[in-house]
Symmetry: C2
Subunit: 254 residues, 2 copies
């Protein structure tokens, strides 16, 4: 399958942060999410739905989750779930995300190894993004540990690429580390990356795009995009910011 590339709009929807026009409850969350989708559909290659943000509100949150996934329609949807467990449990998570929620892709944790990621990789026509180097400060604790001269995050990529699969495989590589992204891109020129952390996590947009050197990648913006304007004009601002990000991703030198 040709990997999806370009701007990913991350739906990290938070009732406490909803802009002024929206009611601060699950209905408002759903309305805001749908409006964000409508305002960005012309420039977004995909939507990343962060399951935690819905699960935290219990049953009303899950109703909002299903409604927002429905509103994405045919557009490519990444379930940002960071799942991973022993085989039969991962198989259940794969059914939850790929069948019940009907997502096209999922993020998974590599810590439990091949038979933990395997059930996700058995899903035909789906994409599995394995966590490699994440964009948070804690990525230094284990991901950057050196194992036989190679950082663990790089071992995760080379090892996971050797696992049998029917689904496609890609990796999460945080945008806060352009130098490391550049090294990984040179080592794995054709491997799809999901690059989170544009905007609020401090990723430098131009450095990140340059470091990726036209490799197959989706670049995610969540908080910096969703909460760029908390007033009545929020949707116009989100549309303009999404267009700006799309332009950066499309036209900046690489």
């Amino acid at each position: 399958m040709i990997p999806v590339t370009g701007l990913c709009v991350g739906l990290d929807l938070d009732i406490a942060k909803l802009p002024a026009p929206y009611q601060k409850k699950a209905d408002g969350l759903m309305a805001f999410g749908c409006d964000v989708i409508d305002a960005t559909r012309h420039v977004a290659s995909c939507y990343k739905i962060n399951l935690a943000f819905f699960e935290q509100y219990g049953r009303p949150g899950l109703e909002a989750l299903y409604a927002i996934r429905e509103h994405c329609g045919q557009r490519y949807v990444i379930a940002d779930a960071k799942r991973g467990d022993i085989g039969n449990t991962s198989a259940a998570y794969a059914r939850a995300v790929f069948e019940d929620l009907n997502a096209d892709a999922i993020t998974v944790s590599p810590y439990m190894g091949s038979d933990s990621v395997g059930p996700f990789l058995e899903a035909a026509g789906k994409m599995v993004y394995v966590l490699a180097l994440t964009s948070n400060p804690g990525s230094a604790d284990f991901q950057r540990m050196i194992v036989d001269g190679v950082p663990l995050f790089e071992r995760v990529i080379s090892t996971a690429l050797s696992w049998p699969r029917i689904a496609d495989i890609g990796f999460v590589v945080g945008a806060t580390n352009p130098e490391e992204l550049s090294v990984l891109r040179k080592a794995f020129p054709d491997v799809p990356f999901l690059i989170p952390g544009l905007g609020s996590q401090g990723g430098n947009e131009l450095a990140t795009v340059a470091a990726n050197a036209n490799g197959p990648a989706v670049f995610n913006a969540s908080r910096g995009l969703l909460y760029c304007d908390l007033t009545e004009t929020c949707i116009q601002s989100i549309r303009a910011e999404a267009e700006r990000l799309h332009d950066v991703l499309t036209n900046s030198p690489k």
Copy 2:
């Protein structure tokens, strides 16, 4: 807080595997789960609810999840969720599990580091079990890698114990590795362990109990207990098997 110890009944409830008396749908799942709880309450120290098994059935599955958690009542409940994400997302997962589901403990993945586990560790009165050495074959892929002369799973324990916390902290240590359990128990004599894999994953009960050497631990049995009898007598069999496991944990030489 005094750590919970003893037998943990793992509610890996699977519609396809339900014993004969139960309807093969979400209602049957709920009824079986409640009957298992009633049949084991006198010997189980706690229940481990595996979220994947409910999420795979969508909304009816989640209704069963809430009903089963409710049926556990005041008994200690571990949400087996293996969550872990950047800080604000982990905070949302913590709210979902500790507040909405009202679990007493959660399992989390260490791969994303301190600020990923941190929001769980901020929950007063709760327990956080960090994955260290799991009971599946894939644990060899990364968890046993040697970093500066020490296996990664041991680095995870020593590192995570240094993180600030309000909650209690423990670690998942698979029962399929009694030798490694013994080494870890000697290194961390007072640290709570969640030891899964009794029964169906091939853990040797007596060797496991001996290796733990009376350290604070809960020993989980899921599939080997729940599906030990698929006929009309299943609940009596589950009761007897839970009593047998409780007896092994209580009376075997250590």
